[in-house]
Symmetry: C2
Subunit: 335 residues, 2 copies
């Protein structure tokens, strides 16, 4: 079990460095030698010791992922980010160390302890306190989200601003003149979480540009929160005809509440959801939605991180263009 590279070398009748080069491919090894070594590796069931490797090469083949593991919001979206990151990391022969967002010291610990080659951070806020810390680290970091000042870090996310505009434009084109945004919970907005801020901005701007009438309401991630938010919207803008909903958990309750208040979807009110496609389709009425490609974003984040690990390319910011899929929840305003 505790076989070392020396055991392999002995078994294959070569030096340890030769074994190492067979493994890494960093120097040419003749075919016969390579085969002898590979056979020895196989027969002994040899695996290099990760710690020793990290020590000698100063590469750990691990990357840190800091995820908001609170249960409050969009759990399924988070899950998709995480799977995206994990599977992409494996493609680069890396494993993923999971850090929780409430442990800010964690990233310093794993980074200065040389436990990881790079860091991926989710749930970025406008003035995220983690950003300055990340800047000082030896390892590259990728932010999923967009702080006010990236300070030279790489960022990737859905272009939520464009997503907001897109949703409004979709409604406007269908003749809607009074629209509302049911957004993130108040706490998320007050933290100035990047995606919530940008969504709000995109919505507001397009409403203004298109000369529409619009209101925005925060929405807690619960049934009660959804009911309350819908009622507030109906109170502030009684003849609203278009609703943009950016809150997974509230989504089903929003639609249900509208119906209870006598508004039929899509005949009276059109609904555009901003969520992963599976959430949009797994509703009584399949919802027109702007996709949140969480899995892809996670994957891209890893790719950007790896690019900076392998060749220290400059940081960049990538915003994925939103895509709207029309389903059964949006219609045209007649008259």
């Amino acid at each position: 079990m505790a076989t070392t590279i020396d055991d392999v070398a002995r078994a294959a009748g070569v030096s340890t460095s030769t074994v190492s080069y067979v493994l890494s491919g960093k120097r040419p090894i003749s075919a016969p030698t390579r085969q002898r070594v590979e056979r020895a590796i196989r027969e002994l069931g040899y695996r290099p010791h990760a710690g020793a490797r990290a020590l000698a090469s100063s590469r750990t083949n691990v990357l840190a992922l800091m995820a908001p593991l609170r249960v409050d919001v969009n759990v399924s979206v988070i899950m998709q980010f995480v799977t995206g990151v994990v599977t992409a990391a494996r493609a680069y022969d890396h494993d993923v160390l999971l850090l929780t967002a409430d442990e800010v010291a964690g990233m310093e610990r794993v980074a200065s302890g040389s436990m990881v080659d790079a860091l991926v951070m989710m749930d970025i806020e406008a003035d995220d306190p983690r950003v300055p810390v990340l800047v000082g680290l030896r390892q590259p970091a990728v932010l999923i989200g967009l702080p006010r000042d990236p300070e030279g870090l790489s960022c990737v996310d859905l272009d939520f601003e464009a997503a907001g505009r897109l949703a409004v434009r979709h409604l406007a084109r269908r003749g809607h003149r009074r629209v509302a945004l049911l957004g993130s919970p108040r706490a998320v907005l007050e933290r100035h979480t990047s995606y919530a801020d940008r969504m709000l901005r995109g919505f507001t701007q397009e409403v203004a540009d298109a000369g529409l009438e619009g209101v925005t309401e925060p929405c807690e991630s619960s049934m009660a929160g959804a009911v309350e938010a819908v009622d507030r919207v109906l109170e502030r803008l009684p003849d609203v005809t278009g609703l943009v909903v950016h809150n997974e958990v509230a989504l089903p309750w929003v639609v249900a509440t509208l119906r209870e208040r006598g508004r039929h979807v899509p005949d009276d009110v059109s609904v555009v959801a901003v969520c992963p496609p599976d959430v949009a389709t797994n509703q009584p009425l399949p919802l027109t939605s702007v996709d949140i490609p969480a899995h892809t974003i996670g994957k891209v984040a890893v790719e950007m991180a790896m690019a900076r690990v392998e060749a220290d390319e400059p940081a960049e910011t990538r915003l994925l263009a939103p895509v709207l899929v029309e389903r059964a929840s949006t219609g045209t305003v007649v008259g």
Copy 2:
């Protein structure tokens, strides 16, 4: 940045071993010396190199968590397991390496590569192919779930069998004679996933013991699946009065479908959910439920793993007793 233990030793005017002993506390160090060393550590911002430490001590302070990151089922439960594991691990000064369940080779990789001190596996099946592999590893493993034969591994889980009995007994005590179980998706059952099997067994046995009439139906985790499952139950047992639902995602649709089919909850049909409390309460009607204490289970799993790392205690199996909380969805059958 790249400060080593030697830098610290030099700055404090002591030998490297002294610094090491200050850090680990494994040998007595006089107060003045300790303070000089601690000061040097602080001023240099020194952190031990994880790889070097792992190499020398053969302890990595990392544990592996294998989680089913498919999006299909009970995402929020999984999330709670994960947070439970991560926070508990931190209490033991460990970090968590996240493995996906679809990569069975992963656990061998991280274990024989000495990347982790222990492994925690979620989503165990009756004849889980991972079990024999885990048995052969150097590191201890803890299963969340109960395979047919644990082969000397530690196991921990909610006692789902007792949970099933408890739910049925609750209904029986209230006069229900015809009950049904809406369980896991067919795929989960066919894999003989531990919790689903045991739930089913507990339900079935208690139905028999109490002399009730009972049917069980699998239930896909979607709205369509819930509707279908409810309809099947109503077809097989038209005058059913008690329903045990063990499927987070389907839960809201089950209740909604019952209402649509003209059965009022709890007047016509009582519903007992098996899920975390927050899911049960965040419904239009607060649901009587048997709690799934995912966070606690994750925590216990880590504690068991750490116990075996630090002192190799024998393996044990721990089943947490279920607790039923009565809310608004269950009533008494009159007449």
